[in-house]
Structures are given as C-alpha cells and as structure tokens.
C-alpha cells in the first residue's frame, strides 16, 4: 500500500476539507479518468483496492496512472481507553479528496472497457465519482 517514506511530523491536525480541487482537476496522462464529484478521505487501502479493480478489468491491457497519494496520517485511540492522555497513535494514511480531483487515469484501452474499469474502481470509494474522457473535456 502507498505511504510516505519519511515524514516531518508523525501526527497532524484533522483539518477541514473545503472548496473544490483546482490542481489535479484535468486529465494529464491518459485518455480516460475517474473524477471525484463529492469530497472525502481516500485511504491507502481504498487506493489499492480501486487500482486492483482497474487492473483486473483491463487485464494489463492499458496503462493506469494514480493521481492521488495518501500523505496524511490518521490517528486513533485504542478501544476501551479513557479520554485524555494525549493524541492516539497513527493508524492509517489518507488522501483528502475535494470535488473535481482526478483520481485515476487510464490509457491504451477502448472507451467501453475504460468506463467499466473506472466504474468498478469508483464503487470502492467512499465518495461519488464520475468517468470522464479527454475528448469530452476542454
């Protein structure tokens, strides 16, 4: 699974996820892409699950680009622990996703297969997505 090799701070603030994506909102590499239409956090497990779903569908016939990276640590307190005694320990990594963010790009496959593969990937994610093609975007 994806995770940073080295971080400056082990724990970070929860933060807020507001606004729309401007950077990383257009297709840069492939012909087809999966775009987030609502917001949420995409965990490293979900990124991997969606990637596997795409690769299984296209059967290594095309090229997949992953446009998200889980660089934010999420902490969790152990079960049955009283409140206080400091912040919990890092449990997993997420990528905060804003509406409009391109998540995956796909090239070298026909449109029908690309739409099927990316729809399967979108089903693995905790927010709504849509499939777009380079030809239909400016």
């Amino acid at each position: 699974m994806l995770s940073p090799k080295k971080v400056k701070h082990r724990k970070v603030f929860t933060g807020k996820n507001r606004g729309t994506a401007h950077r990383g909102s257009s297709i840069a590499f492939g012909e087809y892409a999966l775009k987030a239409t609502t917001r949420g956090n995409m965990t490293a497990q979900q990124i991997e699950a969606a990637r596997i779903a795409i690769n299984r569908k296209i059967k290594r016939g095309g090229t997949v680009w992953i446009r998200v990276f889980p660089a934010k640590p999420v902490t969790k307190k152990p079960a049955e622990t009283r409140m206080g005694k400091g912040k919990g320990s890092p449990e997993f990594w997420v990528c905060p996703v804003k509406p409009g963010k391109i998540l995956y790009e796909l090239g070298g496959v026909d449109e029908e297969l690309a739409v099927r593969a990316l729809t399967l990937a979108g089903n693995k994610l905790p927010f709504r997505t849509k499939v777009i093609s380079k030809r239909s975007t400016l």
Binding site: T20, A21, H22, S25, P99, I132, R135, S136, T137, L138
Partner: protein, 184 residues
C-alpha cells in the same frame, strides 16, 4: 494551422454578479487583448464556444472572432477557465495576432511507425512531446510528424533533425534530445 470562426458580441457588463447572470443566460464571458490595442470584453454563446473549443482540444488554432459590431479579429486562445467539477466554461481569453507576422508556437511532435530497434528488443524513449517554433501563424503545422521506422538501438533524434515546413524556424535548442531507442 487549424482555422475556426467563432461569433461573439461586445460585452458591456462586468463583475461577479453580472457574470453569473450572463452564464445563467447561456453565455460565456471572454476577453480579447494584444496587438497593442485596448482589451475588448466579449461574450459568446456557451454552446457554440464550447463545441468549437472542444473540437480544438487545446491545439494551436487561428480563430476569427466575428464580433457583432461588424469587425473581425484574428486571435489565438490564450487561456480557458473551466469549472473543475462540471467541466463547464467560465471564461476564455483570446490573444489578438497578426497573421502576417511571425510568432512563437509550441507544436506537438508525434512519432510515427515502429522502429527497427524495437523489433530487436530496444525500448522507445520519448524525451520531448513538443517543440517551440516560430513562423507565420497560418504556416505553422498543427503537429510535426517524425518517422522513426529506420531507427536502430542507440539511434536518437534531436529537435534540430525534425523536418519543418518552409518559413518555420526552430526556437527550441537544436541539440535537445527528442526521441531515442535505448537498449533494454
């Protein structure tokens, strides 16, 4: 280079609220500037502008703007602002050009065919997908095609080796490596 005609009208409303009303009415604001003239605010029918711009796919094109005041201006697309979520048009910038005056353009390079070296196990290495050229806008090609069929393993193509049409000169460094077949 591709040529297009887009009808437009002079825009006399400005500001955030007015632009939102304009977009709601099915129009897209735009601006034309350059050639030493004062910037001219324009408005376009969104459907027409969108279909023309999507047809271009951000390629170089000389656009003739037919303005409702009876004038025609030649321009190139300078910037397109879109909604990241809906992929709809926000605004378009056009830069006025003189078609008889040479200008700089970034032209995509496409590598055609399958190299001999690839059959022998070599790998394609694309270093440059575009080069900067200078020429009269109408004589600059949409795309530069490079035949790579004769390349063996270790052969390279630099920017200076790309054949350009008459009247078009290369601005990118001639020694820039564009394409090569490398040993596996």
């Amino acid at each position: 280079m591709i040529t297009k005609e887009i009808p437009s009208a002079v825009r006399d409303c400005f500001g955030k609220g007015a632009m939102r009303r304009l977009r709601a009415a099915g129009k897209t604001p735009g601006v034309l500037y350059g050639a030493g003239a004062q910037a001219l605010a324009l408005e376009f029918e969104t459907k027409v502008l969108f279909s023309e711009l999507i047809d271009l796919q951000r390629r170089n094109a000389v656009i003739t703007l037919k303005i409702d005041n009876g004038t025609e201006k030649r321009a190139v697309v300078k910037e397109i602002q879109t909604d990241p979520l809906r992929d709809s048009l926000y605004h378009a910038d056009f830069l006025e050009i003189d078609v008889d005056k040479p200008a700089k353009f970034t032209v995509p390079v496409s590598y055609k065919g399958k190299a001999k070296g690839e059959d022998l196990g070599g790998l394609k290495s694309i270093s440059q997908r575009s080069v900067v050229v200078q020429g009269k806008p109408l004589s600059v090609p949409d795309e530069l095609e490079v035949d790579i069929r004769s390349l063996a393993i270790g052969d390279k193509i630099s920017a200076g080796e790309i054949t350009l049409p008459e009247g078009v000169t290369l601005i990118s460094d001639a020694g820039t490596l564009c394409f090569g077949i490398v040993a596996p």
